[in-house]
Amino acid sequence: MSVNGRGSLAPKLTGAEQQSLREFWDVYEPRFASIGAEIAEDAADHPELGSFVGAGNGEDVADNRERIAQAIRGGDWQDYLSRMMDTGSRYAEAGLSFSAWFATGRALRSKLVPLLTDELSGEPQRLAQAIRGVSIYIDLMMLAIGDSFIDAKERIITEQQDVLRGLSTPVLELRNGLLLVPLIGFIDSERALLLTGNLLEAIAARRAKAIVLDITGVPAVDSAVANHLMQTVQATQLMGAHTLISGLSPENAQTLVRLGLDLGRLNTVGTLADGVVAATSILKDAEARTAQYEDVLGQP
């Protein structure tokens, strides 16, 4: 038995496996609703599952049963498996833990095996097949739920990381044309790229001419970080803006000098305050330029 990768919802079942499933379903189908209700009742006490595993109204139950029948008898697993995958996503989005949803599979198994044993006690051959069928069924179900559960979890983590990254590289407009970027934490190449991209967009959007990139909150400034910063400074220059780096600690400065880096292109100023003063001066010059130019244009 195998389930294809994401994208295809058709498990490859051997003839024997299909037969096992049918044996199991023959016994389970007429009791589908009642077993479902039992499980829901048991789950009501589970701290996490309580709100999830409801008995469902009559229609839902009938739909579910129909889907499984379509799969097991009709060989069309599409609807059933995609429903299970939805369930997996929902569980992940609701913050359900792995053990909680795994427990649902165990609960089903614990109801079904005794049921089958009772029903088929006189037919060991069929009982063996049906029990095999339970296994296959629950495996398929858990695989589908589990797969999409993990996918959804990973998606959520990535989204959270994106939000964190967005928070960690804010671009603030101090005054018209002056942007302040206070960097906090370690700068790796991914963060540096994100920062550069955001900053360039901001320069275009806010017509910024002066930027203060404050690295007071960046603990380790090695040559890699220095290179990233230089790259950022250069990129902003392409758009006619000046970027000043403020907050480089004396220790870090010494390190960089010892590493033999040409810090001329880093445009460092002292503290954040120094940076803002210098940037404001740059802005004032630019504004004066524009005013002068407009005067000239106005002359006959």
Binding site: G5, R6, G7, G197
Partner: protein, 132 residues
């Protein structure tokens, strides 16, 4: 939607055709503006390398699928003199200051997957993928 294109690189106008095709296919795949610029620039540099070192070659641009993801595949082929020392050519800073192109390290930085196959005398193949 076309799946793959092969653009002959024989003259500077072909550089533009190649990167335009890359941009178009990239747009169809849903890449953002920033990524499209990166793709177009990478193709431009690869095409330029072909012209500079081999005189002619081709660039293949195609959609790549794996693990449910889709990406843009770029393959730059030429039968030029080949790269004698690939390790050296891939070294950051090796040809960034030279006037001929920005070199392979730059293109590698722009793409997600990148590999160079080259033998002196039998040409070069650069294969790069950018995943969506």
């Amino acid at each position: 939607m076309s799946i793959s294109s092969c653009i002959a690189i024989r003259a500077d106008v072909d550089i533009i055709s190649a990167r335009q095709r890359g941009r178009d296919l990239g747009a169809e795949l849903g890449f953002a503006k920033t990524e499209l610029a990166l793709i177009a620039t990478a193709i431009s540099e690869l095409a330029r390398n072909i012209l500079t070192y081999a005189g002619q070659g081709e660039i293949e641009i195609a959609v790549q699928e794996a693990d449910g993801r889709r990406g843009l595949l770029i393959v730059a082929r030429d039968r030029g003199p080949g790269i004698a020392d690939i390790a050296l050519a891939l070294q950051d800073g090796y040809s960034t200051s030279r006037s001929l192109g920005i070199g392979l390290p730059g293109v590698r930085r722009l793409m997600d997957e990148f590999e160079v196959t080259s033998e002196p005398g039998s040409g070069t193949v650069v294969r790069a993928v950018k995943w969506h």
